[in-house]
């Protein structure tokens, strides 16, 4: 899933200055799971903004709140049609994709990002998420025992550990495991160390020419079959 952190309140307060009526919009999917922008966080942020406004005494924003099932999918945005007429901006607590989906769907509406979208990862323990995939477009987890060197090694190197690893940790961050120590240990356990002995050439960054578009194979096949038959 996608993991994000809510922006600091002060930054959010600065962003909304030009707008009177602010709709705080949550997302019911990833942002709910990572505690950054689900229904609960929307309501917390709503209260925090009201309190801050009351304290400052010289602002006149009006806030409303709503949480969509998902912000990154156009079909889930339809319910907003009759809500956005009454607001001057949407403060989205969706990930960067959600914010952009809103901007595309509502060309005349200013949208503001309320979270910093950080990575694709998984819950490690309660309230802790770790990055696991950088969407490199050329997955090599088969060669690395299911541990991603591109995301989990600071340098994203492919041919084994650098010399900086110490106590199994990464030279860049003593709290983080060295990806290549993990890969070595797991390959050893799987009796597949020959995979580490192999040479891996430089990555192909064309695997994902940004921005990338993926077309569903299923719908394409259906079309192809149709054309052949036609």
């Amino acid at each position: 899933m996608i993991v994000a952190e809510q922006k600091p309140l002060e930054e959010i307060r600065r962003m909304i200055i030009p707008y009177e009526r602010v709709l705080i919009l949550g997302c019911g999917t990833c942002m709910t799971v990572c505690d950054a922008g689900g229904e609960r966080e929307v309501s917390f942020l709503h209260s925090a903004l009201r309190v801050a406004q009351a304290k400052s005494g010289n602002e006149t924003h009006t806030f409303s709140e709503y949480t969509l099932k998902r912000q990154c999918d156009p079909e889930f945005l339809d319910v907003l049609d009759d809500k956005i007429d009454d607001v001057d901006t949407v403060l989205s607590l969706g990930c960067g994709i959600g914010v952009q989906a809103l901007a595309e769907r509502f060309p005349a509406l200013p949208v503001l990002p309320g979270v910093n979208t950080s990575f694709m990862g998984m819950a490690k323990e309660l309230g802790v998420w770790d990055e696991r995939c950088a969407a490199c477009g050329d997955c090599r987890l088969e060669e690395t025992a299911g541990i991603c060197p591109i995301t989990r090694c600071t340098k994203g190197i492919l041919n084994g550990p650098c010399a900086g690893t110490k106590n199994g940790k990464c030279e860049a961050n003593k709290d983080m495991d060295c990806a290549w120590v993990l890969i070595y240990k797991r390959l050893e356990r799987l009796e597949q160390l020959e995979k580490m002995r192999r040479y891996y050439p430089m990555r192909n960054f064309r695997a994902i020419p940004r921005p990338k578009r993926i077309t569903s194979k299923i719908s394409v096949d259906v079309v192809d079959v149709g054309e052949d038959n036609g």
């Binding site: 340098k155 010399a163 106590n167 030279e171 040479y199």
Partner: protein, 303 residues
């Protein structure tokens, strides 16, 4: 083009001494030139570091040009941290065109340990890929398969960490570097000769030259700091104790003594093919270390 002077010496089986100079932070190269002049006739080659510890400095290529100008033998350190494959290849072309043919191929320290922590880390290649990149260029092609105008020939080396606390994956990488064409290795700092002996027992099966890295420590505090902050450095407690035992102000003297002792033993016991002295900011003391280790300055260049 003939082999570089350094490459000829690598092939000659003599005991080699290299050292390194870290370029200045700024365009005033007078001190570096002074160090080059001081060292060039005392050692077989001088490495110029490439933003060592990810701290932005005068470029290694620029330093190598100065070594050339002053009549020394440079080893260009190239890391993959700051340059993608286009820039790496271009720098190598420039180096070769100026007769800088010895290249030490490194992945490079993480951006996080340096002084520009918000910079974009590149790492388009790693050390093994960089070695292969050079061999590919020597075959007349660039990394996109296009023909290169003019022949190239480099003498390439890499680093290895015999004192790593988890050695097996490091050895796999070492073998990949050998297979990629590395001719020489300058090791990470060696403080415990037992680990060098163990490593050489294993490494002697490969046709490569190993120069043991000797870091000159100036105090116990510096040693502890390096243990905590410099990637890959593991100074043994025995050495730290030895440094801690001297009176204030005598640390560097002790560091020189330790370095000289290590070098002397390595040479006497013929443990490996030479040493690479890293004086980290104290370049001026290298001749003194060689003197104390009783290595005649510049073994072969005399005539």
């Amino acid at each position: 083009m003939a082999n570089s002077l350094f490459e000829e010496k690598l092939n000659s089986n003599e005991f080699l001494v290299t050292t390194e100079i870290g370029p200045p932070k700024g365009a005033d190269v007078s001190e570096m030139v002074h160090h080059i002049d001081l060292l060039k006739d005392n050692v077989d080659a001088i490495n110029i570091t490439d933003h060592q510890s990810s701290v932005m400095r005068f470029p290694s290529l620029g330093g190598c040009l100065l070594v050339k100008e002053r009549g020394g033998e440079p080893i260009l350190q190239v890391t993959c941290r700051d340059r993608n494959r286009l820039a790496l290849q271009a720098d190598l072309l420039l180096a070769y065109s100026r007769d800088i043919c010895n290249v030490l191929c490194l992945t490079g320290d993480s951006i996080d340990v340096g002084d520009h922590k918000e910079a974009k880390p590149v790492f388009d290649a790693d050390s093994v890929q960089l070695l292969r990149m050079i061999r590919t260029m020597e075959s007349g092609k660039d990394m996109s398969g296009e023909d290169l105008k003019g022949a190239l020939k480099f003498c390439i080396g890499a680093s290895v960490h015999p004192e790593a606390d988890f050695i097996e994956p490091q050895l796999i990488k070492f073998e990949k570097k050998v297979a990629a064409g590395a001719q020489f290795f300058q090791t990470q700092g060696i403080f415990d000769l037992a680990s060098l002996r163990r490593f050489m027992q294993y490494a002697s099966q490969f046709d490569v030259r190993i120069l043991a890295g000797i870091i000159v420590l100036a105090s116990a505090r510096m040693a502890r700091y390096m243990n905590d902050n410099v990637p890959g450095i593991i100074v043994s407690e025995a050495i730290i104790d030895e440094l801690a035992g001297v009176e204030k102000g005598k640390g560097l003297e002790k560091g020189i003594e330790i370095a000289a002792r290590l070098i002397k033993t390595i040479k006497e016991e013929n443990l490996c093919h030479g040493v690479h002295i890293m004086a980290v900011g104290n370049e001026r003391i290298v001749p003194e270390i060689l003197e104390q280790a009783k290595l005649p300055s510049m073994p072969t260049k005399a005539q």
